[in-house]
């Protein structure tokens, strides 16, 4: 693949790329912030206290009695009993007995505040709540809210980032449409064109994303955000950004180049197709592409009808104008006003000529509309919706659509399916229609083909015997043949192509 670096006028893309940078910067910022919030939530999850912790300070003489009394409080459990001297010794002071106070470490499974209950016990001097702030700060609902908000922000950032890359690639393709078209026509490989375009778009998007990550890292270092992302999160995010952005940019650029080439080169060589001269003559919108033949004709037909209405209105106004001018002429003649009479005569001649032109144009438009209606009738798939639809026999599917030929003995069921049948079983029409063929075909035995309209046919082959005649009208579920024991070949053809018969039957129009 030879990249045509100088091929594309990248200077035209300055504004698109600048906008892309700004959007990707913001989107990556949102992603980074969302990921940080998720990381925070993960950290906070481990900090949610399992219950309340208290130091219950009691007189030494009442220590055991208080311990027993605490057990009465719901969910409370004494985990340790310490002398005051032991606790003070933690600070480096010498443990000198005897102690006047004892401290009971109490765990209460209830996260609510039970300190008033504990304080009310006899012998209790004081109750110290050890994790009140942690209980208040790290609640499960708060952590979940943080995680949901983070995930939402991350998702929003991703969606905006992807949208920006795809939209910019397509905008760039449109900006460079003429260059792409000319170069493809002159023989430049399309890969050589979408390569630089993808690289430009991907590079700018990556720059936006990385700049945003750099700023986020700075903000984290500055201590504005509470938690930093784990290293593996950062690495995974950066890898996804690199690979995803470049893949997306190249893929979008490829489609954009293909679209631009089609729009220019094909337009350059296809102007003479049916719709265009009519469209130009009548001011109708240009056709959208060669693939939309019937739609384009319909658009032109609508434009024609609009033009015809305008033209008829103009003819009507011209007729009224002529009548008014004639009246003026008669009045001028009665008043023997020579100048006004000549003026009226000249005006009438002009109006009559305009009327003639208008009528001629109207009849031309009517003829053109007639012709296009004929084209539409011949190209559009007319006819009522094909329904109801049903399977021709009750038996199981032996060979599914697209599986024929993969196993020995199934090659004869290509473009259709094989259904198991019992000898003499009725083979029923899958939908209403008219019998298009009934007879023997080499390799298929007896065959019945039913035309359902809309260029849709169903084919029943390898049957025992047909019981319908060509041209006969059949309803859905009407018996058209008797099966032989074994497999029935069932196929549906729509507009010249085979389709999955089971899918076709299942997708019958509703109502």
């Amino acid at each position: 693949m030879k990249l045509e670096w100088r091929a594309l006028p990248l200077h035209r893309l300055r504004s698109s790329l600048a906008l892309l940078f700004a959007i990707t910067f913001l989107a990556a910022g949102a992603m980074s912030l969302g990921a940080g919030m998720l990381a925070d939530a993960q950290l906070d999850l481990g900090k949610i206290p399992a219950g309340a912790e208290y130091y219950v300070v009691a007189r030494a003489v009442d220590g055991d009695a208080v311990g027993q009394a605490i057990a009465v409080v719901a969910g409370a459990e004494v985990r340790a009993q310490l002398r005051a001297g032991e606790i003070l010794a933690r600070a480096g002071t010498r443990d000198v007995g005897p102690d006047h106070l004892v401290v009971l470490e109490v765990h209460v499974s209830d996260r609510g505040d039970v300190s008033p209950n504990l304080r009310a016990l006899d012998g209790v001097v004081d109750v110290i709540d050890l994790n009140a702030s942690a209980r208040a700060e790290f609640t499960r609902s708060r952590v979940v809210r943080g995680a949901v908000a983070g995930a939402g922000l991350l998702l929003l950032g991703c969606v905006v980032f992807v949208w920006a890359v795809v939209a910019c690639a397509h905008a760039a393709g449109r900006e460079c449409q003429d260059t792409i078209g000319v170069r493809v026509l002159l023989g430049v490989e399309a890969e050589g064109l979408w390569g630089p375009l993808g690289l430009a778009v991907g590079g700018v998007a990556l720059a936006g994303g990385l700049a945003s990550f750099a700023v986020t890292a700075f903000v984290v270092r500055a201590g504005i955000r509470a938690a930093t992302l784990p290293v593996w999160w950062e690495l995974a995010g950066l890898s996804a950004l690199f690979l995803g952005t470049l893949g997306l940019a190249f893929g979008s650029a490829r489609r954009a180049v293909a679209r631009a080439a089609r729009a220019t080169v094909l337009a350059g060589l296809v102007v003479a197709l049916v719709g265009v001269p009519v469209g130009h003559a009548t001011g109708a919108p240009p056709p959208r592409g060669p693939q939309h033949g019937p739609v384009r004709d319909a658009d032109i037909l609508r434009a024609l009808s609009r033009d015809l209405a305008v033209c008829r209105r103009a003819v009507h106004v011209a007729r009224k104008g002529i009548a008014a001018t004639e009246l003026h002429g008669v009045v001028a003649a009665a008043n023997a006003d020579e100048a006004l009479l000549r003026l009226a005569a000249a005006k009438r001649a002009q109006d009559v000529a305009a009327l003639g032109e208008g009528e001629e144009r109207c009849s031309a438009l009517v003829a053109e509309r007639q012709r296009l209606r004929g084209v539409l009738r011949s190209t559009r798939l007319l006819g009522p919706p094909i329904k109801p639809r049903q399977s021709p026999v009750q038996g199981d599917v032996a060979v599914r659509y697209g599986q024929a030929g993969r196993q020995p003995g199934t090659a004869g069921y290509r473009n259709g399916i094989a259904l198991r049948t019992r000898g003499g079983e009725s083979v029923r029409a899958t939908a209403p229609g008219r019998v298009a063929y009934s007879g023997e075909l080499p390799g298929s035995g007896s065959v019945v083909v039913i035309d359902h309209g809309r260029r849709t046919y169903s084919v029943y082959a390898k049957i025992g015997s047909s019981i319908v005649e060509v041209g006969e009208k059949v309803g859905a579920g009407q018996t058209v043949a008797r099966a032989r024991p074994g497999l029935l070949y069932f196929s549906v053809r729509h507009r010249g192509h085979a389709v999955d018969p089971l899918g076709w039957v299942a997708n019958a129009p509703k109502g």
Binding site: P9, R12, D178, T179, G181, V182, R183, V184, L185, L186, G187, V188, E189, A190, E191, T264, V265, L266, A267, G268, L269, V270, V271, A272, L273, V274, V276, P277, P290, Q291, H292, G293, P294, T379, R380, L381, R455, R495
Partner: protein, 227 residues
């Protein structure tokens, strides 16, 4: 030598070319027919811009339908194509537009510009060489488009869609003479036109397309007249 074997092309339900079989070589052939007869589609197939729905096309033995994209691009580098819409790059000068056709063939930029200048002189467009393509009139753009195509002196196949559209009689005669010279040097010149006759191309082979089929071929007519 260009050969079409039972070529058909359909867009959705509409078949715009049906069972076209013909061979062209070392001559000027005018594909004539009314709007919608399938002329431009035939040229697009010939340029390898899209494949036929049925049948196949060979250019000097190269089958276009079953060929990889890079080979098709190489095929287009050997063509001289004049689309109906001139397809110039608007923010480039006329000479740059012409030299581009040579640059994509690998000709160095300096040499390409020199040859482009010579071709523009042939077309009487030397004064507009340094004008931006977007500032040219439609007739001038058409001439520059012709110059770009014919700058490829080694092109064995010259394709022009509606070659006379937008050209005054003098320019039509000039283009006719240059196309005749190109055909005399062994190239196959294929023109699509709503008219069957072009100035200076009275003896060209005419294939009349109607409803996507070759309704009349002057070569067969002449053969029958000769016999």
């Amino acid at each position: 030598m260009v050969r079409f074997f039972h070529v058909a092309r359909a867009y959705g339900a509409r078949e715009v070319l049906s069972d076209v079989t013909l061979s062209l070589g070392g001559e000027i052939a005018v594909i004539a027919g009314a709007a919608g007869a399938g002329k431009s589609v035939l040229l697009r197939l010939l340029c390898g811009l899209e494949p036929p729905t049925r049948g196949w096309i060979t250019v000097d033995g190269l089958p276009l339908a079953a060929t990889a994209a890079d080979v098709l691009a190489a095929h287009r580098r050997r063509l001289a194509v004049v689309p109906q819409n001139p397809l110039l790059i608007g923010d480039r000068t006329a000479i740059h537009n012409v030299s581009l056709a040579l640059e994509v063939q690998g000709v160095p930029r300096g040499e390409a510009q020199e040859r482009a200048g010579e071709v523009l002189v042939q077309f009487g467009c030397e004064e507009m060489a340094d004008c931006l393509a977007s500032t040219l009139s439609s007739g001038q753009r058409r001439l520059v488009s012709f110059a770009r195509a014919l700058a490829r002196e080694d092109a064995k196949l010259v394709i022009a869609d509606e070659p006379t559209a937008g050209l005054d009689p003098a320019a039509q005669a000039l283009v006719g003479r240059l196309l005749r010279e190109r055909a005399a040097s062994g190239a196959t010149v294929i023109l699509a036109s709503q008219q069957s006759g072009l100035p200076g191309l009275g003896d060209a082979r005419v294939l009349f397309l109607d409803g996507g089929r070759v309704a009349w071929d002057s070569q067969g007519e002449r053969a029958s007249e000769a016999s």
